[in-house]
């Protein structure tokens, strides 16, 4: 039996050492510290080619004519509003499609019978569109490649009419905007 006792005595020297190392390094202590596991890009945040207007990350791209986010989902626009969008992938060769998803409110059409939306990219106008029914709409126009050679472009929108909700709300309201962007072709 002496032989097993000797084995135990000597292995016992190693076991606590390894166990304490195990517990010291291994015990669950919340989130592991992963700092330094990635090397991040030095560049400042990129503008997106397409945005959900309610997304807080898109706020820097909304240049003018936008009211606050409502229901975490949409924003009212003013009569004139503008946005900066990054030129999408392949746009400098193939052009892109400007697509704007919005809702035309009953309140606007009750007053005006029709509303015309026009847009321009870097000052070059795109064909306008007139809407006579309320509800969800998509304004889509092809944008030629020569307008999209820069990293980002400014897109200006204009409505022929806007309304004020009254009841002490001084805002000038145009459309309920959801999403807009330049899409690769």
């Amino acid at each position: 039996m002496a032989i097993e006792r000797a084995a135990l005595q000597h292995l016992i020297l190693i076991v606590p050492l390894l166990f304490s190392a195990s517990f010291a390094t291994g015990c669950k202590n919340g989130e592991p510290d992963l700092t330094g596991r990635t090397e991040e890009e030095a560049a400042s945040p990129r503008a997106a080619a397409g945005i959900q207007v309610a997304d807080p990350r898109a706020a820097p791209q909304l240049v003018s004519g936008w009211w606050d986010v409502e229901d975490h989902a949409w924003r009212w626009t003013a009569r004139k509003f503008a946005v900066v969008l990054r030129a999408p992938i392949g746009a400098a060769r193939r052009g892109a499609t400007l697509r704007f998803s919005f809702t035309l409110p009953d309140a606007a059409l009750n007053r005006f019978k029709s509303v015309t939306l026009s847009a321009s990219v870097e000052g070059t106008p795109l064909a306008p569109e007139t809407y006579r029914e309320p509800g969800p709409k998509v304004y889509a126009r092809d944008v030629p490649s020569n307008l999209l050679s820069a990293y980002s472009v400014r897109v200006d929108f204009k409505l022929d009419r806007a309304f004020s909700p009254g009841n002490g709300d001084p805002r000038e309201l145009g459309l309920i905007a959801h999403r807009l962007g330049l899409e690769s072709q």
């Binding site: 032989i3 097993e4 000797a6 084995a7 005595q9 000597h10 292995l11 020297l13 190693i14 076991v15 390894l18 166990f19 190392a21 195990s22 517990f23 390094t25 291994g26 015990c27 669950k28 592991p32 992963l34 700092t35 330094g36 596991r37 990635t38 090397e39 991040e40 890009e41 560049a43 990129r46 997106a48 080619a49 397409g50 945005i51 990350r57 990054r86 999408p88 992938i89 392949g90 060769r93 969800p136 962007g181 330049l182 899409e183 690769s184 072709q185």
Partner: protein, 636 residues
């Protein structure tokens, strides 16, 4: 008188000190050498199958699921609660996804094995040095590399512990005749079934030893066969034999060929030791194997049956893996070689007691053996260690990327075959609660296909959704590098992404927000990993490229919907209605495969409409609900 007593006491103290030192060297040298050779295994991270065992925790919610996780047949039908499921679940619950404690435990078990080998060899031969050399010769064997570096192969180490412990108790039983030692043997033997199936052969080992060396106890080993037979019967009932694939059993003459391959690998591990291939490996096998056989024959002529038992140990422990004709793995030698290591230690010590010529022969052979095995261990440990650390860098890098970019999908670029098949293929990100990690489009160009395991494309984000996601800043791209993941989103946008195709993919996942642009306006908002539709919904999908392509659908329908009887589902592709199919009450999760008309080939994409035969409304949810998807995929 006093001076004499003092001198005697001093001499005894010196002698005690030397004895203690010698005992320390005897017992600590094998584990310390083990650490010196296999230290990379102590620091290795998880890889391959480890992730499947780590993921078990995610499926455990109550006693029923614990029992299922511990005992349900998995991975080729194996049931190994102590060495795999229980081991991973206990250590993960204590330490999280932290490899070091797992590795330390594996090493501790192996240290115990080394002590058991030394103790067993010492008891069988009566020589301390045989025990020492048996432990050393076994410890350096190249078959131990995988068990010492890959946590999933802990089953070999733990099974070794139970086998050696049971046999050690048997030796003590033979020595003392105490019933408690016999009970100890039984306990360790029965526990061994929870480590590895190879445990079934222990009765043969015990019977062979007692028959050859302690005939009086032979009959006491026969009842050990009963648990083995019961285990085999229950195992076969629970898990039908594999009819094909790597793990199919071939009870043919191929077993003899497999045996010869293992004998060769025992002495010449050519899988790693490429420098001994083509001649030296045969010489090495003949020299070392011949020496062992020669020694055994010479001892048997003198009436010593122990060498025959050692050879029998090798053959008996190897026997269960011989029918695995297509899966001869070096690590299957880790337990059989214990017998040869004891025999080798025995031969070495006997030779050392012989003439100078025998001493020289023994020294040359042992030096040759060590000169082959130690470098092989070193090289193989480096390779396996590096593989595990490459997986660690990628997985933990992706987890860090998720911390920094909680809303974006993560694309990994530059993933090679090693990292993919030993890491990403097992989708280890879920262990950290991370999803939406994909490979960049065209990643399959850098990864060796292994269709028997799975499809690389399932892990890639197709080009079209990648372009859309990048345009909308919904994606960040990281390159897998030698040190850590490197964010390359801007560079990827300006270079590779410019050439990506915009065509719709042939696999549309309705539950993936990056593919939402392919869905028609009818679909409801994303819920978890799927999306409900009303009675009818549309989407755009890549067209089939060959006449044998089919449409694969997977989704979910409500139980309440099926109570009214089979639910018809209609699919229309580019205006062509496919044969209607029905979902019945046995499955709320459904999968369907539909043949496609030939004329759809050649176009770039198709408009697909899916229509549910019935709809329902759930509780306060006022929506009209048809089916929930799921994926739509066109492939062969």
């Amino acid at each position: 008188m006093n001076a004499h007593a003092a001198a005697t006491r001093s001499g005894r103290l010196q002698s005690d000190g030397l004895h203690a030192l010698s005992a320390a060297v005897y017992w600590l040298a094998p584990p310390l050498l083990c650490l010196a050779i296999f230290w990379r295994g102590l620091l290795a991270w998880f890889q391959g199958d480890d992730f499947a065992w780590l993921a078990l925790r995610l499926h455990v919610h109550d006693w029923q699921t614990i029992m299922h996780a511990l005992f349900a047949p998995m991975a080729q039908g194996s049931i190994r609660p102590w060495s795999e499921r229980g081991f991973f679940m206990v250590f993960e619950s204590l330490f999280g996804v932290n490899a070091l404690p797992f590795r330390i435990w594996v090493f501790l078990t192996q240290f115990a094995n080394l002590a058991l080998v030394a103790a067993i060899a010492r008891r069988m031969t009566g020589s301390r040095m045989v025990g020492f050399w048996a432990a050393i010769l076994w410890m350096v064997h190249s078959s131990l590399v995988l068990p010492m570096v890959w946590t999933s192969v802990y089953n070999q180490v733990l099974c070794g512990f139970f086998l050696l412990s049971a046999f050690w108790f048997l030796l003590r039983y033979i020595e003392t005749g105490r019933r408690s030692e016999c009970v100890g043997q039984w306990v360790m033997f029965i526990l061994g079934f929870g480590a590895l199936e190879i445990n079934v052969v222990y009765p043969a080992v015990a019977a062979l030893y007692t028959y050859l060396c302690a005939r009086k106890y032979f009959r006491t080993t026969l009842p050990l066969v009963i648990p083995s037979v019961l285990f085999v019967v229950l195992d076969r009932l629970a898990v039908p034999s594999q009819q094909g694939g790597l793990y199919a059993l071939h009870w043919t003459s191929a077993m003899a060929r497999t045996f010869v391959i293992y004998c060769h690998q025992t002495f010449a591990p050519t899988e790693v030791a490429f420098w001994i291939k083509g001649g030296p490996d045969i010489l090495l096998t003949i020299a070392l194997g011949g020496a062992i056989i020669g020694f055994a024959t010479a001892r048997m002529h003198r009436g010593d049956r122990l060498p025959l038992f050692c050879l029998g140990w090798f053959a008996i422990l190897l026997a269960p893996v011989l029918p695995l004709r297509d899966h001869a793995s070096p690590y299957y030698l880790s337990l059989p070689t214990i017998g040869l290591a004891i025999l080798g230690g025995y031969a070495l010590v006997c030779a050392w007691h012989g003439s100078a010529a025998w001493k020289t022969v023994a020294t040359v052979l042992v030096t040759t053996y060590l000169a082959v095995m130690v470098p092989v261990d070193w090289i193989a440990m480096e390779w396996w260690g590096q593989r595990s650390w490459a997986v660690e860098r990628t997985v933990l890098g992706a987890v860090r990327a998720r911390q920094l970019h909680p809303q974006e999908a993560i694309l990994l670029d530059g993933v090679d075959s090693t990292v993919f098949w030993s890491g990403i293929f097992h989708y280890p990100f879920t262990l950290f609660g991370v999803s939406n990690v994909y490979l960049t489009p065209q990643s399959e160009r850098h990864i060796e296909p292994r269709p028997e395991l799975g499809r690389i494309s399932d892990y890639m984000l197709p080009s079209g959704p990648t372009v859309h996601g990048l345009n909308d800043n919904q994606i960040v791209v990281y390159r897998v590098g030698p040190d850590r993941l490197k964010a390359i989103t801007s560079r990827y946008l300006d270079t590779t992404a410019q050439d990506l195709s915009l065509e719709p993919p042939q696999r549309v996942d309705a539950g993936n927000p990056l593919m939402a642009y392919l869905l028609g306006p009818e679909w409801y908002a994303l819920e978890g990993g799927s999306r409900w539709m009303p009675r009818r919904a549309t989407l755009r999908i890549g067209a089939p490229q060959s006449p044998s392509a089919k449409l694969f659908l997977s989704g979910f329908c409500s139980e309440s919907q099926l109570r009214a009887g089979p639910l018809p589902v209609r699919i229309t592709l580019a205006g062509t209605a496919l044969p209607e199919f029905t979902l019945n009450c046995s499955a709320t999760q459904f999968h369907a495969i539909l043949a496609l008309p030939g004329h759809l080939i050649g176009t770039k994409w198709l408009d697909l409409a899916v229509e549910s035969g019935r709809t329902f409304r759930a509780g306060h949810d006022g929506r009209e609900l048809g089916l929930s998807f799921g994926t739509f995929e066109i492939r062969e």
